[in-house]
């Protein structure tokens, strides 16, 4: 008996009745989305709602410092900055005992550049040998712009995907795809909100980039399933819609699993070895790609079922076969 290559021993054709469970899963998803939305927005505080707002969007200053090999005295750090009128001061240890992260907002109307210089000077005086490994300063004007452009980017991405699917498939397919996309984006926001509450991840430009990447991958999965779906619709004109959907998903299941697995493996490596900066990013991507796979099966396809598709021949004509003539 040969076990290798593994593809030979994997089931050739599965016959899962995905659609039958669609109701259960879409209800679950609806609850998850509602929960995510709540976590994302509550307590309705601008600019980031329930997300842990990074300085990209909230404005402010982050200093990372190290006093290696000595341990950082966070109380001393706090004391050094007292009386400067700083607001939202956070001091916490990062990557071991000799490093710390300091976050604050400069007093309203103050010259942020000077405030940072003063803060660094005070810290140097109080801690002795200190090295500032990272200094990020975002002014109020820039943070507002970054937030607007970030959100605009997300909106535009979803819109473009809708248009693309509409153009390549048909409008109802586009709706299914966008429903899946919203599902993925909202749930990812939910995760970011939870991680934010645990102090693990901040909502910043990197998070937006991660969400945009997730949008790309979620769409990728959806497109692959839709491609087969469209083909089968044309092939089996009399088969009920739900059966066509089930068949298409089953046919693509091996591919879906293999591709998700490679992405998951790479992202796990990234989360373990990529260091603190990439850790949050890879967790978000890991989550997003997993639910992206789930949503192409349980959200995108059932939405099409809900709306129905045009199946008579003339109407189906605009659907071009998924082949490239070379």
């Amino acid at each position: 008996m040969h076990f290798w290559p593994l593809i030979k021993v994997l089931p050739v054709r599965t016959h899962f009745r995905f659609v039958r469970l669609a109701k259960v899963f879409s209800t679950l998803s609806a609850f998850a989305i509602a929960g995510s939305l709540f976590l994302t927005l509550y307590p309705f505080k601008l600019p980031c709602g329930g997300l842990a707002c990074g300085i990209d969007f909230a404005g402010g200053t982050v200093l990372e410092l190290t006093t290696a090999p000595k341990a950082v005295d966070t109380e001393k750090v706090r004391g050094a900055l007292e009386g400067m009128g700083l607001t939202d001061l956070v001091v916490q240890g990062i990557n071991g005992p000799s490093s710390a992260m300091v976050r604050f907002q400069a007093p309203r109307g103050a010259d942020i550049s000077k405030t940072v210089a003063t803060a660094q000077a005070r810290l140097t005086q109080s801690l002795g040998a200190v090295k500032f490994t990272r200094t990020d300063v975002v002014g109020p004007k820039v943070s507002g712009e970054l937030l607007t452009t970030g959100l605009m980017g997300l909106g535009l991405a979803i819109l473009l995907m809708l248009i693309y699917i509409w153009f390549r498939f048909e409008f109802r397919f586009g709706l299914g795809a966008v429903a899946a996309l919203f599902h993925d984006v909202f749930l990812t926001f939910g995760l970011i909100a939870i991680m934010g509450r645990l102090g693990q991840f901040e909502f910043d430009l990197k998070a937006v980039a991660a969400i945009l990447t997730i949008i790309g991958y979620s769409m990728n999965d959806t497109v692959v399933v839709f491609d087969r779906f469209r083909e089968n619709l044309r092939k089996y004109k009399r088969m009920p819609l739900d059966e066509v959907i089930d068949m298409s998903i089953n046919e693509m299941l091996t591919r879906t699993i293999i591709t998700s697995m490679t992405a998951v493996l790479a992202l796990i490596a990234l989360a373990i070895f990529g260091g603190p900066t990439l850790y949050g990013l890879s967790i978000i991507l890991l989550f997003g790609i997993t639910i992206g796979t789930y949503s192409s099966i349980y959200i995108a396809a059932p939405v099409i079922l809900l709306w129905g598709v045009k199946r008579n021949d003339e109407e189906a004509e605009p659907l071009q076969p998924a082949t490239v003539q070379r």
């Binding site: 290559p5 050739v12 550049s113 497109v223 591919r255 990529g274 990013l281």
Partner: protein, 534 residues
Amino acid sequence: MMNLAKWKVILVVLATIFGLLFTLPNVLPAKVRDGLPAFMPKSTLHLGLDLQGGSDLLYSVDTVALRNERLTNMAEDVRTTFRDKQIAFTDLAVTNGEIGLRITDPAQYSNALNVLRQSIGAPIAGVPGGREVSVSSGDNQRVRIAFVPEAFEADVSKAVDQNIEVIRRRIDQMGTKEPDISRRGKDRIDIQAAGESDPERLKSVIGQTAKLSFQMVDDSVTQEELASGRVPPGDEILQSTDGYAASYLVKKRQVVTGEELTNAQSTFDSQTNQPVVSLRFNGVGGRKFGDMTRQNVGKRFAIVLDKKVISAPVIESAITGGNGQIHGRFTVESANDLAVLLRAGALPAPMKVEEQRTVGAELGADAVKAGAVSAIVGLALTVVFMLAIYGMLFGGISLIGLVVNGLMIVGIMSFTQATLTLPGIAGLILTLAVAVDANVLIYERMRDELRAGRNLISSMEAGFQRAMGTILDANMTHILSAAIMFSFGSGPVKGFAWTLAIGVLTTVFSAVLVTQVLLAWWFRATRPKTLPIA
């Protein structure tokens, strides 16, 4: 598919050679790289500031301050003009971004408006908006002078250009590694300096307006009088950094300014051996400085930099040679920086920091290491997985595709000097891991076709052709999201998007051509009867 066109093979070979050639410099030690013959590419990946360490500073020109400064100068013009024409006026002041005044005599009102409209408010050819300021009348003989918005915008734009020039001169003279200075939008300047160990020093050199002036200290007023808030007209109180007094009362009149300098050098005082800045005035400036010192022996004068007194020496004798010296509380470095600032000239418009991102070089090096390790582990996992699933032959083909793909990405990024950032590394790993998706789609399609009853060759043919549409469609989504990130993101996010976009292009290339060529070769060489993956 199986009758392979020659150009495809040639293209694959060329792409592989290109990838190898341009990736090579990245793995060679610097010494070997420099010794390469001239025709070989030498550029390595261009690491973003988050990977190599450095500072990214975003400044904006302070348009409010610029407007007020221009208006204040203009108000002085108005004052002299009216004095010459003997038009009486009161309440001349700059408030809320415009000049306001009142003509005392109603009979002179229309004449005054005419004078203004023909002098500062006259139409100027070539100025956007047709004229620089608009003069409008109000009740009670009031006059308001405000900038024409288009003209002021053009002013700002010009000031930004001039600022960039001055900053460039300053930095050139500092002798640090050449930073990137670029204009962003209407009123912003972005400065990226790699490896600068001290961003605060860079900031102090870039951000200082550096307006130098010599003004007389007014010693006629006692401290008590000052404390009661009586500042004589024509005087101002300026903060001091000289270490002797907290502030000085100085005459507003600037006797000599930094514009009249021809040179500034940091040297050491011959007697005290302290670092000082020595100045050389031009003809006019030297004469004015000579007059000032001759007429005021025994009195103090203030050397004022950006509205702060840096030194207030007593004049011991007339200094007529056109040379001067500033004895401040300098270190060698700060004396040198001040000399640089004075030589490069003042910034035409004041600036403020809007955004700063600084990463220490060590942190950057750690990030590179972490990125490299996770890339190697991630790709190794992908390869092992593919080999396990599809076996040595088909898994191996996707492995080769992956290698060519990776070489091409690194090659293109080195060749175009696109910036690789830390999130970019993540994008690169993800792209390569998911690049095998194209192979999976092709293989699965071939198996489907075989199962549908086709013979081997036609199912390979059909599988390849049909998968291609899906591959293109699926990758299009990545291109779209990358395009959005590129147009909206900044810095590291742009790097991420760029890496993603290059990766998608090379992925499609290696899926379309590399896999095809390899499969065709395998088929020709072995004439197989069965598909090893079915």
